[in-house]
């Protein structure tokens, strides 16, 4: 069996100098926790995972993107403050803005040692400009299509990917459909169907609130 993630993090810190690795807990009862690796250390960490004799994670099972858009969490804070010279308890809403990012998750297994999974993830700097991550295709060839898919659907650019093109959407397509803020363009070449009427009726009903759904 593989060592615990905590042990792995400390070992990585000792073996690989100045590596930025941290643990990301997972609350699901069946799922293991994962490691977060800083993008600049991604290749080093990957090479380590693959070649370390205790790990030998030679098989990249799954590679996928996750979109975490900007989040605004509102928090009501009560604080005591001097208002007009009198100390009063004032309630105010604090808006904490968590900047969004794109995340790429890697599931690694070892065919050699038959263990796994080790999950590690990398996050981009933001969702628009700094969407670069190191490509894992030179380490695991199996990343080739999956990275292309993430590039296609999320817009993460993988540096030093040998053939970074769109995988599923067509070449001239512009947006990245799996992002949470993707708006479907109204450019389908569809024929009218009876279903359009149904959807229109639903819309009409919901907007007018005729029956008031339960």
């Amino acid at each position: 069996m593989m060592e615990s993630l905590e042990a792995l993090v400390s070992r990585m810190a000792s073996v690989l100098p100045a590596i930025d690795v941290s643990l990301v807990p997972n609350e699901a009862p069946g799922g293991p926790s994962s490691l977060r690796v800083a993008p600049q250390d991604g290749r080093r960490a990957a090479e380590f995972f693959k070649s370390d004799p205790g790990l030998r994670l030679d098989y990249l099972s799954n590679l996928t993107g996750v979109d975490w858009p900007d989040r605004v969490t509102k928090q009501k804070v009560k604080s005591k403050r001097l208002v007009d010279g009198v100390e009063k308890e004032v309630e105010e809403t604090l808006e904490t803005r968590t900047p969004g990012f794109l995340e790429v998750v890697y599931h690694l297994y070892s065919i050699e040692l038959k263990h796994g999974p080790l999950i590690f993830r990398m996050r981009t700097a933001d969702r628009m400009a700094g969407v670069h991550l190191p490509s894992m295709t030179p380490v695991w060839r199996g990343a080739e299509f999956q990275e292309r898919e993430v590039f296609d659907l999320y817009g993460v650019r993988f540096d030093s990917h040998p053939d970074l093109r769109r995988l599923l959407m067509w070449e001239t397509f512009e947006d990245h459909p799996m992002r949470k803020d993707y708006v479907e363009p109204n450019d389908y070449e569809y024929e009218p169907t009876a279903h359009d009427e149904v959807l229109a009726k639903i819309k009409e009903r919901d907007s007018s609130g005729v029956s008031g759904t339960a």
Binding site: P192, T193, A194, H195, V198, R205, S211, G212, T213
Partner: protein, 246 residues
């Protein structure tokens, strides 16, 4: 030697050629329109609405709770609630769907509507010959066409129907017992009114909780105005438009 594998293969095809005339199980083809495989009991093709008794309007089990509409993955169901309540199979006052449309062209026969329905009101049909001549309106199946009697359900899915019937009968018996008990309790409460405490006559919910009824004053008044079930039926039978207009 060259050719032995080929000759072996040719012997096998010859065996199958002859076998297709002699052995029944080799020939799986069914000459469809003339010859039909009897439908499997579990088979499913397209949903239908079950009604009890003979009258599709009266006995419809559906209470327009719209759970199926929400759960339907391709969103092919459209329901519009009626404005009047009518007694359902247990005798409880319930809403009925005024409009219940399913789009055949979108439905993917997944049976999720059947599973999520708490009232055993929607079931899967086995009739797969659903082609229509009209591409638009024809593919939208309306309530009158969707409603099929319970006897039909018993015919196509006997095991399932027996279980459902037993379940419903038990529920009904429970509800009746409850009603009797409630009545008794009410009577008792009335007789014991001296204390001035009215026993809470709220009937306990049956196993699947019915959806909360909307507290719309217009609807309330409408349902109160059509007191008798017979009246309600005539009211909802053909006069949709005025009901809607009001």
């Amino acid at each position: 030697m060259l050719g032995t594998g080929l000759i072996k293969g040719m012997a096998e095809t010859a065996r199958n050629f002859v076998g297709s005339f002699l052995e029944e199980d080799r020939l799986t083809t069914v000459e469809y329109p003339e010859e039909r495989i009897p439908a499997k009991e579990a088979a499913r093709s397209f949903p239908f609405l079950v009604f009890d008794g003979d009258d599709a309007e009266k006995g419809l089990r559906c209470v327009a709770c719209q759970i199926c509409e929400k759960e339907c993955p391709p969103q092919c169901i459209f329901i519009l609630k009626d404005t009047a309540k009518k007694p359902d199979f247990v005798g409880k006052m319930q809403f009925q769907p005024k409009v219940f449309d399913i789009d055949v062209s979108v439905c993917m026969s997944c049976q999720i509507c059947v599973e999520v329905c708490p009232f055993e009101a929607i079931k899967m049909d086995v009739d797969f010959e659903l082609s229509r001549f009209d591409r638009f309106e024809g593919l939208l199946i309306h309530k009158d066409e969707l409603s099929k009697p319970n006897s039909y359900f018993r015919k196509i899915h006997p095991t399932d129907a027996a279980a459902v019937d037993a379940n419903l009968a038990a529920e009904k018996a429970k509800a009746e017992a409850k009603a009797v008990a409630d009545a008794a309790a009410k009577a008792k409460a009335a007789s014991a009114a001296a204390a001035g405490l009215a026993a809470p006559a709220k009937p306990a919910a049956a196993a699947p909780p019915p959806p909360p009824t909307p507290a719309d004053p217009i609807l309330k008044s409408a349902s109160s105005s059509t007191a008798g079930p017979g009246l309600a039926e005539t009211g909802s039978g053909k006069t949709h438009a005025p009901a809607h207009g009001s």
